[in-house]
Symmetry: C2
Subunit: 255 residues, 2 copies
């Protein structure tokens, strides 16, 4: 009998112990909004997303790249940055703007989580918008799974934990798994909030912040389960996110 699949959830990137991800498969979650925006940008035709931790780093990288082929996007405190082409709202990333470009992206929470996850052998990016596509990648990969929630300004976030729980729910339905305590908490969260996704995203701290800034539409877009069938995946040298897999067999979102 094969051993149970090891599944870890980290409710914040700083809760990942050093070295823990090596040889593993990491899934980075930032529902509001980086993961959702990355999926939108790749679906709209961006060739790659280059994650940067700092604003100045993103500006310098964009400056080095050919003008017209690069988009500089991101936020701090939820707001677009001066001199940047785009903010962090998924709807801004239209095919007209994105086609054939590289997106240089810096955000408060999501890019930081992505860079922390780079320690893993394979790194995927998950939102509700590509839930089932991520599920299928998890199923076909034998490595230990590490689900990393980005959180909001250093605090555990409801919406990221909720998506982590939705992935746990799929894994528990599909295979024998060995869950850690955080995975159980995430699963509990999904059990209670999974059927009222929009409402949960609205009452979360990150959702309330976005609403106060007038980004109600971003919340609605982030809650569009399975809008896309692509899975962003981290590539190396240079570190970037590209389309790693496309297509789903069926929706795995519980009815």
């Amino acid at each position: 009998m094969p051993e149970d699949r090891e599944v870890h959830v980290y409710l914040l990137p700083e809760l990942v112990p050093s070295g823990r991800l090596v040889n593993g498969l990491a899934v980075v979650i930032d529902v509001l909004r980086a993961a959702t925006t990355i999926v939108h940008a790749l679906a709209a035709g961006c060739c790659a997303v280059r994650p940067c931790a700092e604003v100045t780093e993103a500006q310098e990288l964009a400056n080095q790249m050919r003008a017209g082929r690069v988009l500089l996007g991101g936020e701090r405190g939820g707001k677009p940055l001066p001199g940047f082409d785009l903010g962090n709202s998924p709807a801004e990333y239209t095919p007209k703007l994105c086609k054939g470009t590289t997106l240089v992206l810096t955000t408060s929470n999501g890019t930081r989580a992505l860079l922390r996850a780079a320690e893993a052998e394979r790194v995927l990016v998950a939102g509700f918008v590509n839930y089932s596509a991520v599920c299928e990648q998890l199923r076909h990969d034998a490595r230990p799974i590490h689900i990393i929630c980005s959180g909001t300004e250093g605090e555990v976030s409801l919406e990221d934990t909720l998506l982590a729980g939705a992935l746990i729910d799929y894994l528990c339905e599909t295979m024998e798994v060995k869950l850690d305590d955080s995975a159980r908490l995430a699963w509990d969260c999904f059990e209670n909030h999974g059927r009222v996704l929009d409402g949960a995203l609205e009452i979360s701290k990150g959702g309330a912040k976005l609403r106060s800034l007038g980004y109600d539409d971003d919340i609605r877009l982030a809650a569009q389960v399975d809008q896309f069938a692509l899975v962003p995946e981290l590539r190396r040298d240079p570190l970037r996110v590209e389309v790693g897999a496309v297509g789903i067999v069926k929706s795995h979102w519980p009815k």
Copy 2:
């Protein structure tokens, strides 16, 4: 209309932002086992518990105190420490041993959380064993509430989150509250695991560790809701935990 009561949950002591607890009421949770042991020790007649972060610090403090009036207790890796009078099993703390003594205690998770919580204006210690007594103290105190879970070796723990959720459940039933995202997660955990307390404690990482060491009885004791009606409270100069309040009007554990 009075403002909603602010309630924060921190799933680990290191997730408490610096300065956040000032002027607040902190509740320190370490179900397995420090909080449970402290309640047992005070109920058995200890006058005070002196929490120490380090083993050597605990040994030195105990040496300075009068022999026969001091008990040196604690654990590392769940196991009793060489030269110590007692480990961290609640049942060890009998009236015969405890009456009239001061307990110098050092544990892996709980004492660390207690020392972090000292920043708050008032600090209580909670286990399932004194759940309703803690609930009543929360009700009669107007300060913002900060519930701090100790966790297990730096990881979020199911049993501490579960008790945090039980306290949230009481607060939501009793008053208008403003919850943060972690408080909602804790509440979800309680919703799903609250009625199978023993089972939840057994499957948790901390519970599994205790079972592997043969401490099954400690888990059973930690799950005895409302066995005691006392609330341990932190006092200053020197920093120590004493009986802060005794008595409950009725059980608040949901039927």
